[in-house]
Symmetry: C2
Subunit: 155 residues, 2 copies
């Protein structure tokens, strides 16, 4: 099992990069039919007469797929637990058939007055398509446990 990172291990400037992941049209339809059933997400033909002028994935699908990649890519002890998001943008639409990858950079970290067992790590998460264009940028705060607060192992 890979070594999991505590708050103390995460330094400003650290960078993580995910595997590439293809996003199929079938998956775009499945997500959108349940969570964002609008013509530009669920109907490739009708999409041509909308704001987007073409069939695109839901922004919330982009977010969900990016979550999948961050869970695989950033090995924080106890898991990826969001303490809120400061900014979320979709500079380019994610399109069916695109292949995305995620880049995560640590940009700030701080301990909390309210509790001594976890700190907050602010990261910039950028989701790129196969041409290197950003389809999503996000600045979430992630909880990370302090090693110092851990109970010592027996023996």
């Amino acid at each position: 099992m890979a070594k999991k990172l505590h708050f103390e291990d995460l330094e400003v400037g650290m960078r993580f990069e995910s595997r590439p992941m293809e996003v199929t049209g079938e998956e775009v339809l499945q997500f959108a039919r349940r969570y964002d059933p609008q013509p530009f997400h669920i109907d490739p033909v009708a999409a041509k007469d909308t704001f987007f002028r073409e069939w695109v994935a839901s922004g919330w699908h982009t977010t969900a797929l990016s979550m999948r990649l961050v869970v695989e890519t950033v090995p924080i002890e106890g898991g990826i637990i969001g303490g809120g998001v400061e900014e979320l943008r979709w500079p380019n639409a994610l399109k069916p058939g695109d292949t995305i990858r995620l880049v995560v950079e640590v940009i700030e970290k701080r301990t909390l007055k309210s509790r001594g067992d976890v700190g907050l790590v602010k990261v910039r998460m950028t989701t790129l398509n196969q041409r290197g264009e950003p389809v999503q940028t996000m600045i979430p705060n992630l909880f990370a446990p302090l090693r110092a607060a851990a109970v010592p192992a027996p023996g």
Copy 2:
């Protein structure tokens, strides 16, 4: 068909409220297995030994369900199209079996220098559980088409 709202129709202080929607454990599992496969979301037993101390839905599932409700609830001409999110918080975890509803309030609106056919409407979207506790708060900007920019109907 219900009358759809243009930029001019959306006034600061307007408020929309969704139907209630139950979130089943089966759905929590399905979403999390695909997009957020962590023990506190996919394993009701193992969840007890995590940060959350119980089985909870993914924050990104809360977001996706809230998108479903906003699509049903706010009848903007051309659809619900996000121009980015300024803030996103999960003050309480969404739990399997909860029933949520969404409240949307218009808090600001502005036209754009870059294009004359749409404006941006800033809203506060609050997702509440069956006890009226917020499980999500979000401040997105939504695009809304200007009626003034529409091509006049023939005749």
